[in-house]
Amino acid sequence: MIGLIVRRLLQMPVILLVIYTITFLLAWSLPGESLLNDEGRRPPQSVIDQMNREYDLDNPYRFYANYLYNASGVRWVVAGVTGGERPRWIFNFGPSFKYDDWSVNELIGSSLPVSIVLGLSAIILALVIGLTAGIIGALRPNSLADLVTLLVALVGISLPSFVTGTVLLVIFSVWLRVFAIAQWGSLQDMILPAVTLSLPFAAYIARLTRMGMIDALGADYIRTARAKGASNMSLHLRHALKNAFLPVLSYLGPAAAYAMTGSFVVERVFNVPGIGQHFVSAVQNKDLFLIMGVVLVFATMLIFFNLAVDLMYRWIDPRIEQ
């Protein structure tokens, strides 16, 4: 277990460096000027040149090296050692060009918790809905209940969230007036976006559970357990589900990361101030520091989630350790 953690943590800088390099190459080749807003007035060229130099936008090599120096925390450490002036953040992602009054750190700091809350609630909901539906389907295969869950799962997977989101919004917020629109702050405001976001995950989990359960229920050890007189309840939940859950668990890692960041559409429909918007708008605005910042943070998150899932895997199923 410790070995795994150490190995993964040692791999992390290498993976991040590769991601950083690829993102840098892609972002640098975007057309357009980073510093200018598209609809604004154009300052004199000499001023633009100076500002480009200030932010290393005139030289890709310098940009690549300096940004890495700041974002990786090396500058912070070096400043500490040499007694120089320490930057405000250990991992300093620089200013945002588009949102003048915010640094990339502040932007991520304000939007990442929102996305984590939304993503986690969606994953929890997806687990509850998906496991329940999957177990029902597995216990009575091809029954009406199974067909209904299959249908719901299909809809959940195939309908894009801007459709499900808008439908939910119109039903619950416009007709029934249960929830406020375009607000973020209370638990209530979270329900609709979380449900919308959870649907595709729930559908997938339901199918995974159902398959795993049906496989497990046919296995020898279940017959043995039944012969030993285990109750139905304990048979299904203790013995079968435990094995059927493993594929779900391995799916949860990427799913959680995806739910926390891939929610651009849901964020837009429900006006959620999360991090997903930056993945799209930062690229449209060529907001270089913001692009690099969100990608690095997301990559780090993904690595940690995968590690967490692997650890849980071993914890639940000790066979894997050997």
Partner: protein, 617 residues
């Protein structure tokens, strides 16, 4: 099973913890929706309409516009009065004794001098630095500083120390004091000397970037960078817990993309003018969601409706089915640019270099049909660049209207006629008129407009067209490189003078995307700039507008932009006050909404009806 529950509990725990750390924005007396969050609260760095509107809420410039009257007069604000010297060059502003910053400090002449110096420095990219160049010495100072920074950056590293940077800053401040025509005569008197008489200088004094800032607050966040010698201002000074304001409101909360909460500034000198005690902004990016939010009562004003079904909403209004959508004409014009350079970017001859060809194209567009059948949202057709009636004392010319016969004549006079009978015009050496590439950005109505115009060009002139719809950054790049033949464009005026539009056509102007360069036009502008007589100056500018809109056509205006608001009307059909209605919206095309005038009517409130709107009593 226990382990599964443990994992589940862990997830719920993280969720609860993150939720508990959150702080939401409270309800306000008046909430309004805008599509974007505020970009900056630094007045000298602002350029977006919504940011400028916020500037007027939290800062008070020397003067305000009277947005309740059609003449849009300049009225005193932080300055209680001012004198203008007979030669029109020196302005002396007397700042009112009662004006206070939100921390209780008096508002001083120095605060304006300090803020304006920030704007006249190239250290940060400020969109509106150029507007300050009407002040004597400002442009020369800006250039001097730019060169000084350039020279500093070329020094060897050993000479780029903190001390050297501080010395440069000292020298810069001294030079500003010595050469730029801004002086504080005493604590409450500001003297501004202009480079030449500028009829619209007072109008500029009411504009957002001319707002003061609180020097002690900003100065805490300013550092000099030893590597480049530049001043670096940490934008944390605009955070609610740092920001000191002199306007009717103070910022109490600001959360990115969640909105801002403003409260009445108890230190503001004119408390009676403030209608709503608290204001909340609600940024909603998605057009549909924003309309649903407005309709379910999340806000009393939607400040920018951009959905595609505006046309249907306006139709519903005409049929009496709804009364909360409003089209307001603005200080802006939608147009298509012609590339005016002799050669295209790929080296071919550019047919649009010939003003006759440009006139022919302009004469073949049925703008009425485009506005009514394609755009469908009630804009006014434009034949000129400057929206008629938006600037007092300026008479707009006629411009060019649809005239297919004259269009073909113009094209023939320019040497293009269908010589081989295939319908496409050729020049004298038999070369066909090149396919007209119409450049626009994707994701909006521009492609529809291009398609409609392209058909009109083909029908009237026989030329072939091709639409080049590109992502907006690429479109912008192509525009800058002049890599196009025709391109969509638009412009909103900044201040109440024709030059805010006409400067677009000036040779070498930073926003002259057309590469238009005409000595006759440049001369008209230069003469107007030197003309001390107000009426004669206007006549010269009218001629400049006529020259570009009837003779040389660097741009082909299509319509004057509308803005679309949603709010409950303050009066019912009989003219009685309607509780729940919104007061304070000005219909003047400059579209300046002062937030302290906005508020939701309650039972028993009285209102004042002026020529530009309904305002609280």
């Amino acid at each position: 099973m226990g382990k599964l529950i443990a994992i589940f509990a862990l997830l719920v725990g993280v969720l609860a913890l993150t939720l508990a750390m959150d702080r939401s924005i409270p309800e306000a007396d008046f909430t309004y929706i805008q599509p974007q969050d505020i970009f900056t609260l630094d007045p000298q760095a602002m350029s977006y309409n919504q940011d400028l509107r916020m500037a007027y809420a939290i800062y008070e410039p020397l003067a305000h516009w009277d947005n309740e009257v059609a003449t849009f007069d300049i009225i005193p604000a932080a300055a209680e009065r001012w004198e203008i010297s007979d030669d029109g060059l020196t302005y002396t502003f007397h700042i009112r004794d009662a004006a206070r910053w939100s921390n209780g400090d008096p508002v001083l002449a120095e605060d304006f001098r300090y803020a304006w110096q920030r704007a006249i420095m190239p250290d940060s990219v400020a969109d509106y630095s150029g507007l300050f160049f009407v002040i004597d010495g400002a442009e020369a100072f800006f250039d001097w500083r730019t060169e000084a920074l350039e020279a500093y950056a070329e020094r060897p590293a050993s000479q780029r120390t903190r001390e050297a940077a501080l010395a440069l800053r000292e020298e810069t401040n001294q030079r500003f004091a010595d050469t730029v025509g801004i002086r504080t005569l005493d604590d409450h008197t500001l003297e501004v000397r202009l480079a030449r008489p500028t009829a619209y200088f007072l109008d500029l004094c009411a504009f957002g970037p001319f707002c003061p800032v609180h020097p002690e607050t900003v100065e805490k966040f300013v550092t000099v960078k030893p590597e480049s010698g530049r001043l670096d201002t940490d934008k944390r000074w605009t955070k609610p817990w740092n920001l000191v304001c002199n306007g009717p409101y103070v910022v109490e909360q600001w959360q990115f993309k969640r909105g801002m909460f403003l409260r009445r500034n108890p230190q503001y000198w004119d408390q009676d003018a403030i209608v709503s005690d608290t204001i909340r902004t609600l940024p909603v990016q998605d057009g549909n969601t924003s309309i649903l939010a407005y309709e379910t009562g999340a806000a009393s004003w939607h400040s920018d409706v951009t959905v595609k079904y505006i046309a249907d909403m306006l139709a519903q209004k005409r049929e009496g089915k709804r009364d909360d959508i409003h089209a307001l004409s603005t200080f802006g014009t939608y147009f298509w640019s012609f590339n005016c350079r002799p050669k295209l970017s790929d080296g071919r001859d550019n047919p649009f270099h010939d003003a006759g060809v440009r006139r022919a194209f302009a004469l073949s567009v049925d703008k009425q049909a485009i506005v009514e059948k394609v755009k469908r949202s009630g804009e006014k057709v434009a034949h000129v660049l400057i929206p008629p009636g938006s600037i007092g004392g300026f008479e707009s010319p006629q411009g060019l209207r649809l005239d297919p016969v004259r269009a073909r004549e113009e094209l023939a006079k320019a040497g293009w006629a269908d010589r081989d009978g295939n319908g496409v015009p050729e020049n004298e050496s038999g070369v066909e008129f090149p396919v007209v590439e119409m450049l626009c950005s994707t994701g909006s109505y521009h492609e529809d407009i291009a398609m409609a115009m392209g058909r009109m060009f083909t029908e009237v002139l026989g030329v072939r067209t091709r639409i080049e719809a590109k992502e907006s950054k690429i479109y912008k790049d192509d525009l800058k490189q002049k890599d196009y033949m025709m391109a969509r464009g638009g412009w909103f005026g900044d201040y109440g003078d024709p030059t805010t539009f006409l400067d677009l056509h000036r040779t070498g102007d930073g926003n002259n995307d057309r590469g238009y360069s005409d000595p006759v036009f440049d001369d008209l502008l230069a003469r107007a700039a030197q003309e001390p007589d107000v009426d004669k100056r206007m006549t010269l500018l009218e001629e400049a507008e006529r020259y570009t809109m009837e003779d040389t056509l660097p741009v082909l205006p299509i319509w004057h932009y509308n803005y679309y608001y949603m709010f409950e009307p303050p009066l019912d059909d009989e003219g009685h006050v309607r509780p729940g209605g919104l007061v304070g919206i000005s219909y003047h095309p400059r579209l300046v909404q002062y937030m302290w005038k906005l508020g939701v009517l309650k039972e028993g409130d009285e209102v004042r009806v002026t020529e530009m709107g309904v305002f609280a009593q």
